[in-house]
């Protein structure tokens, strides 16, 4: 259990780190909004790191106690309760920081990034009203902006707690009201991405999502976006259950080259893992 729950926390951390890494990519001098964003992310990262260390210590202490008990022939102590993700109070604090920044840059394209973060973090804070408010600002004040495309995946993610219907309604509004083809296409993709990724290939949900994604490739003008949508369809069908696995040619953790097909003839348990 703890292994999977640690990963759950890890996923959140990875997500936070991606945000930071991304904002550090640019070599050119940073705008005021970017600096503000980086500042908040650094605070978030520090809080998350502290939390992760506490959790890790809890687990390591238990492991040590269990091993000691085992060597003494005593029953192992019960495993401590592990966090399945950051506590909602902490997430609410992060959401609050992004809300303050969104206000500072209100009405400008710079606000979009902060509003997007409210949408993507608000679910874990169980802050439904605040997420809805951020989505509303995005789909009214910023509806004519091309930069709205950046916040669409975050809006798509809200379906986990707003419900598919509510999120679909928001994204359909973006598709209808945005004057930019790539924002429209992005809104379609954000709306169907979950089903495209998680629904069983061949199920009605999957087929509907695929038809919508295909329509989005027709609307998109950015070749990269077109390619991205097409690839998310192709890959899913290629690597679904019942299909043949692609070979992997790579290197192991010692730098030695090997292939997945080296193990052909055995049952292979391919485990995508990380130590977070």
């Amino acid at each position: 259990m703890s292994h999977w729950s640690k990963i759950a926390l890890g996923v959140v951390l990875a997500f936070v780190f991606v945000g930071v890494a991304h904002s550090q990519d640019d070599a050119k001098p940073k705008s005021k909004a970017e600096q503000r964003f980086d500042g908040i992310m650094a605070d978030v990262q520090a809080d998350m790191k502290k939390l992760q260390e506490t959790e890790k210590k809890k687990f390591d202490d238990w492991t040590a106690a269990a091993e000691k008990a085992k060597s003494e022939g005593k029953p192992a102590p019960d495993m401590p309760a592990m966090l399945m993700g950051p506590p909602k109070e902490l997430m609410a604090k992060f959401v609050g920081k992004f809300e303050v920044a969104a206000k500072e840059f209100a009405g400008t394209d710079d606000a979009i990034k902060f509003l997007g973060m409210i949408a993507s973090m608000g679910g874990m804070a169980e802050a439904k009203d605040r997420v809805l408010a951020a989505c509303k600002t995005l789909t009214t004040t910023h509806i004519k902006s091309e930069k709205l495309a950046e916040a669409l995946p975050a809006i798509g993610m809200t379906s986990h707690f707003l419900g598919k219907e509510e999120t679909s309604r928001i994204l359909k509004k973006v598709e209808a009201d945005s004057p930019h083809a790539d924002v429209q296409a992005g809104a379609i993709l954000a709306r169907v991405d979950g089903d495209l990724r998680d629904a069983d290939v061949g199920s009605p949900e999957y087929l509907a999502a695929k038809a919508e994604a295909k329509r989005a490739t027709g609307i998109a003008t950015d070749p990269d976006l077109k390619k991205q949508i097409q690839r998310s369809i192709d890959r899913r069908e290629k690597l679904n259950t019942g299909t043949k696995a692609d070979d992997i040619a790579g290197v192991d953790l010692n730098g030695v080259a090997f292939k997945l097909s080296d193990y052909k003839g055995k049952i292979i348990f391919l485990d995508f893992w990380g130590d977070w």
Binding site: S2, H3, W4, K6, I7, G10, V11, A14, F59, T63, R197, S232, R235, R236, L239, N240, T241, G242, T243, K244, A245, D246, D247, I248, G250, V251, D252, L253, N254, G255, F258, L260, S261, Y263, K264, G265, K266, I267, I268, F269, L270, D271, F272, W273, G274, D275, W276
Partner: protein
């Protein structure tokens, strides 16, 4: 930290089974240390070794961790998902079937 995988590898010793990881840590030195410290007894690909254009997880459209893909002896995908226990049960069943054929 990795009791599930480790005990599966032990259970499947000398049987037609291979647990192959795709490790997505970007600090290679750190993960090599963890492999030693935590007795990680299976081989892993580096998800995106230096110079690689695309990560394996991206090629395989993996978007959540952990993801497990169970592949049969003919390289056909039998299970793909996030449920570690379901994946282990699938692998156990397939290994048994494969042993029965021999």
């Amino acid at each position: 930290m990795y009791p599930h995988e480790r005990s599966l590898v032990d259970e499947m010793k000398n049987r037609p089974f291979a647990l192959i990881g795709v490790n997505s840590d970007d600090n290679l030195a750190k993960i090599q240390k963890i492999v030693k410290e935590k007795n990680i007894n299976w081989r892993s690909f580096q998800n995106q070794p230096e110079g690689a254009k695309e990560a394996i997880s991206s090629e395989w459209a993996v978007s959540g961790w952990p993801t497990v893909v169970v592949i049969d002896a003919d390289m056909k995908i039998v299970y793909r998902g996030h449920d570690g226990n379901a994946a282990i049960e699938t692998a156990r069943r397939l290994v048994k079937e494969l042993e029965g054929k021999k």
